[in-house]
């Protein structure tokens, strides 16, 4: 330990013992900050204190000296705990940097563009609860006539999840040229995922395809949350669900496929369980609450509807997302 620091401590202590003035305690606080900066360990501070006390009260030295030795012994472990803590903090900073790189890779890998389709208004919001999302949305556009969308929830997080998503993307891209049906897309992606990912990785996925010429929406689901269909004329919601196993469990799975026709003002909400399983202080947010919110803003453009829903649910959850949150809305103009 630098001698000058020791001298400063000793003088300050002597001054304080004489006057018991708050000013000296304030100065002591500054000294303590300097000690931390210079990485002086707790046991060294006590040793310094011992030396200072012995100088101030020489006749007490023999009697109280051992009590400080005792305290030094006790503080050794505190010093070690402090050093360990500092090293863990540095390690965490390094991990943070790696994580930021992974997030960037994920963003780049999973970028998608919202299609522009005649007569269809599309809104999308997808917010990760932590840095890396387990939710995935990917669009495919076919001229101005068709739009396909996958809304998936990967059970698992981080890089493995991101790799899984890139498989979904690869699967969809490789099928884009053929006029592929949703059940077929799900079958192909299931095979890719089943073959490539380990057994702990499952994906639920909703896949939909809108064809402008006929205003039809064809969909299939791999164990995913049902989508919601709003029928403007009847002012009521209907669940859109189709039978199908989660992706990645079995090699050969048949996926049910259904079709509906959209009328003006109708919209479809595709979501992940981060939306339906939002929690507030009283428990899960009821589905009726979500439907009520949708009804309130049903006449707004698609993007504004999903933004509104996200903002309101985020507020209800006390500004915290417990799970990744994804909403995609197809509205027939």
């Amino acid at each position: 330990m630098p001698q000058e620091v020791g001298k400063q401590y000793s003088e300050l202590l002597r001054k304080y013992i004489t006057h018991e003035d708050e000013t000296d305690l304030y100065a002591a606080q500054q000294v303590s900050r300097k000690f931390i900066e210079k990485k002086i360990s707790p046991e060294e501070v006590i040793s310094l204190h011992k030396t200072s006390v012995e100088q101030i009260f020489p006749d007490l030295a023999l009697r109280i000296g051992p009590s400080y030795d005792f305290l030094i012994e006790i503080m050794i472990h505190y010093g070690l705990a402090l050093m360990e803590h500092q090293s863990l903090v540095r390690k965490q900073e390094a991990l943070q940097i790696e994580m930021d790189v992974a997030v960037k890779v994920q963003d780049m890998l999973l970028e998608t563009t919202v299609p522009k389709v005649n007569g269809l208004d599309i809104g999308v919001v997808s917010k990760p609860a932590k840095k890396m999302s387990g939710d995935y949305v990917y669009f495919i556009e076919q001229g101005n006539e068709e739009a396909c969308v996958a809304v998936a929830d990967v059970m698992g997080k981080g890089l493995p999840a991101a790799l899984c998503m890139s498989m979904i993307k690869f699967g969809m891209d490789s099928l884009r040229e053929k006029a592929t049906e949703p059940h077929h897309v799900l079958e192909v992606i299931n095979q890719i995922v089943e073959k490539s990912m380990d057994d702990s990785m499952f994906i639920s996925m909703f896949y939909g395809k809108y064809v402008g010429a006929t205003s039809t929406f064809t969909f299939g689901s791999a164990g995913h949350e049902p989508a919601l269909l709003y029928r403007a004329e009847e002012d009521r919601f209907v669940e859109l669900d189709a039978k199908g196993l989660l992706l990645g469990i079995r090699k050969d799975v048949d996926f049910q496929q259904k079709s509906i026709e959209l009328a003006t003002g109708d919209f479809i909400v595709m979501l992940t369980d981060g939306v339906t399983e939002g929690r507030n202080a009283e428990g899960f947010i009821e589905e009726d609450v979500i439907l009520g919110m949708l009804r309130d803003v049903k006449n707004l453009p698609a993007q504004q509807i999903v933004d509104h829903l996200y903002t309101e649910l985020f507020k209800m959850q006390n500004y915290m997302l417990h799970d990744d949150f994804t909403l995609v809305l197809f509205k027939k103009e």
Binding site: I72, E73, I76, L80, E84, S87
Partner: protein, 133 residues
């Protein structure tokens, strides 16, 4: 002059004996109170590891004097199960999180030089040195 002294570790009381030996040696070598406490804590941790994981072993203390540098070395040896994953026991948070004490990273920090040789099924030798400044 014999520069080496040692304590066999069989029971928990032997840990205290090893500490005592280490403290005396440290004091005689001219280490200050804080370094005495550090060296003793390191010996304590190493002796305790022998007692807990190997059952029996030995703590040896060498007084060093080379090239005008003075110091002391602790050698903790046992013929216990050995350490299967050295990297793991040298990681921060591994032993402290389980409340096992300062652990190997702690001993490494308390001393200046630190070396482990371990073979599964054969035993472990840990050598740790502190230099007098």
């Amino acid at each position: 002059m014999d520069n080496r002294s040692s304590v066999e570790i069989f029971t928990e009381w032997d840990i205290v004996a090893a500490r005592q030996l280490g403290r005396n040696e440290a004091k005689n070598s001219g280490f200050g109170t804080v370094d005495q406490a550090r060296i003793t804590t390191a010996i304590s941790e190493l002796a305790r590891n022998i007692y807990l994981y190997a059952g029996k072993g030995k703590i040896e203390i060498d007084r060093l004097s080379t090239d005008g540098m003075k110091g002391m070395t602790i050698i903790a040896s046992d013929e216990g199960p050995g350490i299967p994953d050295l990297r793991k026991v040298m990681e921060d948070g591994f032993s402290t999180s389980g409340g096992l004490g300062a652990g190997m990273p702690g001993v490494k920090r308390l001393m200046d030089d630190f070396k482990v040789e371990s073979e599964v099924g054969k035993g472990t030798i840990i050598t740790a040195t502190k230099w007098l400044r």
